[in-house]
């Protein structure tokens, strides 16, 4: 198994003890050595103390998903090992803090009762009898190598050398785990040193300390001969191409900046907040040098570049309505939230739809319903996004499948919003938001900026001089009326959530009502016609597909990896990723699916996409593969499930349940 899947590394510990930072150094290291990486985070809705872990897979070829098992487990607390010991691959390594061998299962309050019982049962010992040594022994019986590292010795040495207090230094357990792992993998120490520097920027003292700790960890691992005992190694690869490591939150945030979004509102919520924090940290915006030079000649003020206003609002109702207000003024505006916040935005969404305001909402799905599992994954909001709001109004819903698409689709979201003058919901999920991946490049100009039809001061003057009134909601062939920004000279207009006439004044006239309703709704038709097939869906045809996988959003990662895996076995499968969920690409999809055997893959309970497909095309999948335990789909479980559909052993509905 390990060969096909590359290398997997897992670091775990209590929330607040630097798991993510450690993982980031590890990722930077293996990436700098020339490997492609994929990394995913699992954590509790908690600030400190609960178990959190970070999983990293890396390989010589591009990868985009995780497997359930690891080659190395890097731990500095006991809980991590109690939880993950049985996920080890046959010849895996477990790095642990030698001091913890006596810790008993009963001493770990953060392990759920159910899990405690399960572990206790598995080892046939009461929790207060079951200690870490026993766990490790058992693992070793299965071929795992358990490598004790003396964390205290390392930190004591550092404390002596630097004068830092030992208690302040315990935060560096993470880097011991990381460095020990890299030492096991025989990675050039210099690569790690550089990764540390990169991670900590200009915090010199921190870099020094981390480097020192790492050196001692390398020494310990090497001197104890662990690296020899462990049969995997990471030679530095020759590789000159520039690469980036990004997660979905970041890709969307950078996409928003690129798209020209200049007003972002948010109310803090996991897993959406990171996007807004990122924007806040980049609120002062630079313009491309060549352009900024160009513009300077015309407009003096632009010399000073621009900025994005990022507003922390009092709630999500204010977030969507404030963003809508900014959009009316002419700014590309957006907000970002997850389920609970989106639930509060519904009325505002309807108003934007009714008033044809281009506003973009990034909706990061997480485990639902209600507060649900705030830090876990799910794709449970699809139908809700499509139908949110009383009455009927047009909206576009799109769902990128990976980090690259997240970037490009963000720009498209604003284009659609402005071109068709409607709210656009850009759906991601916690998995895509929080998982990092190596990407080769971002082509900033692959997607052009399209602001739709906007009348400016001078055009309005002409209209005025021609004795014509500007009509914000003028009836037109394609449903789209030229837009004017609030504050533009030579015009005024009105908006109202009530049904209105072309000027925007309230009307209850049944005839105008019908026309206005038809005008609004027809924009979806216009969009359907204009948006090219390749933006609506990705189709990865195979010559002789055994089955067609249909899915959406972040499942793309494991599915693409699966396709490669199956190809290695000589099995071909098709893959259709629906990217625009509303207006639904019914004809396109019917064309592709009719007569095929297909399996629907989704991270939710009800197989919502399959429902949409059937509603719109009449077609029904032969198989469903769903998952809703809050953990993303792993490559290995998907492999098994899809293979069963190919061999027709599968029941109609398979529920995936892997993940810790």
């Amino acid at each position: 198994m390990s060969k096909n899947f590359g290398y997997s590394w897992l670091i775990g510990g209590a929330q607040g003890t630097g798991i993510e930072r450690g993982a980031s150094i590890f990722i930077n290291s293996v990436a700098a050595a020339g490997y492609y990486v994929f990394g995913k985070r699992e954590y509790y809705s908690n600030i400190m103390g609960e178990h959190s872990y970070y999983y990293v897979r890396f390989d010589k070829k591009p990868i985009r998903s995780h497997v359930e098992r690891y080659n190395i487990l890097a731990a500095y607390d006991a809980e991590t090992i109690f939880r993950h010991s049985t996920e080890a691959l046959p010849e895996a390594a477990i790095i642990y803090n030698s001091l913890l061998k006596a810790v008993r299962l009963s001493e770990i309050p953060t392990i759920e009762k159910r899990l405690r019982n399960e572990i206790s049962k598995k080892f046939n010992l009461e929790p207060n009898k079951l200690n870490l040594s026993l766990i490790l022994e058992e693992a070793e019986k299965n071929g795992v190598k358990a490598f004790p590292v003396d964390y205290t010795e390392i930190l004591t040495t550092v404390s002596k050398k630097t004068g830092e207090s030992l208690s302040e230094l315990t935060i560096m357990n993470n880097i011991i785990a990381v460095a020990s792992s890299l030492a096991l993998l025989k990675l050039d120490f210099e690569v790690l040193v550089k990764a540390i520097s990169k991670t900590f920027g200009n915090r010199k003292r921190v870099i020094e300390l981390n480097t020192l700790v790492s050196e001692l960890a390398y020494n310990q691992v090497n001197s104890k001969g662990y690296s020899n005992e462990f049969n995997l190694s990471l030679p530095k690869l020759e590789n000159n191409s520039k690469r980036y490591i990004l997660n979905g939150n970041q890709a969307v945030a950078i996409g928003k900046l690129a798209a020209g979004c200049r007003f972002q509102t948010y109310y803090p919520i996991t897993p959406a907040t990171d996007e807004s924090n990122f924007l806040e940290a980049h609120e002062n915006i630079e313009i491309k040098e060549e352009i900024s030079n160009l513009i300077n000649e015309e407009k003096e003020f632009l010399k000073t570049e621009g900025s994005i206003v990022v507003m922390e609002t009092e709630d999500e109702i204010a977030a969507i309505t404030m963003a809508t207000g900014a959009a009316l003024a002419g700014a590309r505006a957006s907000t970002s939230t997850s389920g609970p916040g989106f639930s509060l935005m519904v009325e505002g969404l309807g108003w934007a739809g009714m008033n044809e305001v281009p506003v973009v909402i990034t909706l990061y799905q997480r485990g639902g319903p209600s507060t649900g599992m705030p830090t876990r994954n799910e794709q449970g909001d699809l139908r809700f996004a499509i139908h949110a709001g009383h009455g009927e109004f047009p909206r576009i819903v799109l769902a990128p499948g990976d980090v690259e698409e997240a970037f490009y689709d963000t720009i498209r979201a604003f284009n659609y919003a402005e071109r068709y003058q409607l709210p656009v919901i850009l759906m991601l999920d916690k998995f895509l938001a929080n998982s990092v991946k190596t990407i080769e490049k971002i082509e900033a100009n692959k997607v052009k900026i399209d602001r739709g039809t906007i009348l400016k001061e001078d055009e309005l003057l002409k209209l005025k001089q021609a004795g014509k009134e500007y009509k914000r909601f003028e009836f037109t062939e394609n449903g789209i009326s030229p837009r004017v920004f609030v504050g533009t000279n030579n015009a005024v207009f009105w908006n109202t959530g009530d049904e209105h006439d072309e000027l925007g004044h309230i009307t209850e006239d049944p005839i105008i009502r019908d026309k206005m309703m038809e005008k609004r709704m027809s924009k979806l038709l216009t969009a359907s016609k204009e948006i090219p097939m390749e933006e609506k869906l990705n189709y990865l045809p195979a010559t002789k597909p055994e089955i067609t996988i249909v899915s959406w959003g972040s499942n793309k990662g494991p599915i693409l990896d699966l396709i490669e895996l199956l190809k290695d076995e000589g099995i071909e499968v098709d893959y259709i990723q629906v990217r625009i969920l509303n207006p639904f690409p019914a004809n396109e999809l019917r064309g592709l699916l009719e007569g095929k055997r297909w399996v629907d893959v989704e991270s939710n309970y009800s197989a919502q996409l399959a429902g949409l497909i059937r509603e719109n095309t009449g077609l029904k999948p032969n198989y469903y593969i769903v998952k809703y335990n809050g953990r993303p789909i792993s490559l290995d479980e998907l492999y098994i499930a899809v293979k069963r559909t190919i061999t027709s052993e599968a029941p109609t509905r398979q529920v995936l349940r892997s993940g810790a």
């Binding site: 621009g306 009092e314 009105w494």
Partner: protein
Amino acid sequence: MELKLKLTDYRTDVHNNWCPGCGDFGILSSIQQALFEMQLNPSKVAIISGIGCSAKTPHYINGYGIHTLHGRAIPYATGLKLANPELEVIVTVGDGDGLGIGAGHFVHAGRRNVDFTVVLYNNEVYGLTKGQAAPTLNIGVKTKSLPKPNINQAINPILLAFAAGYTFIARGYAYEVKHLKELIKQAISHKGSAFVEVIQPCPTYNDIHTKEYWSGKGNIDPKTGKEVPRYYKLEETGYECIITDETTEEEYLNKITNFIKKAYESGNRVPIGVFYRDLRFATYEERLSSRMPTYKISPPAKQEIADKKGNLITNIDKILEEFAI
């Protein structure tokens, strides 16, 4: 070019369907007159309302008119104003709208001090939904469409605005149009969030605080034996409450104390006029400028984001560098 704008330039020809005698007419005309006297360019004015009788105001004013959702006028206005600070933004809300469903936004706007004006139409009832008690109706009062007397205590809008942090607080009366117009002009001129509560008779549903009531029906001055209005003008009493950076702690507490007394006055002597002015706080726009030096000259709505060919002009390469290996 001396193109003086006329009062009619601030009106629309939309049929006004408020009830005859509604106090809203007075407020509308105060706003129109204020805009006219300030000679504001209608294309630079935005009137933003929520939902209710009061919320129909924008349709009657020639200016960008944004009739939004019940309770949400303030955040819409905040977004609009912050995206284009050159706009003159006036928020017109009902008492149910602004202090019932919209109470949260009302409080939070006070914390920001965005440079706009909030006019609260206080008729003590939910007009458009047929006369339910608004949060400004006193406990124990039974207006005609209530089946039983109101069992909620009333919000004091002046006090709440103060607790929330509005830096200009005033009260007007819908039928004192000139006075109200002046208040609105002052509110517009004020740098920061200005709040103007307007006592607004609703002849259809509020049979307690009617126009006649306010004019003094039954309120006999023992000296003159004549009916006297139930409101008086603060400025005529010499009252003033201005807080500046120079105000000492002690002065401050004295001023606040006086303010609180005025805020509590009720019954037959209800003050109208300017209650409070606080000049210590920067506007939200200024606060943003302190973080983003280009904000004022190049606010969100005014920035170029693409070149003529549609190529984006934001320099994201530098940001991507943070993620490069």
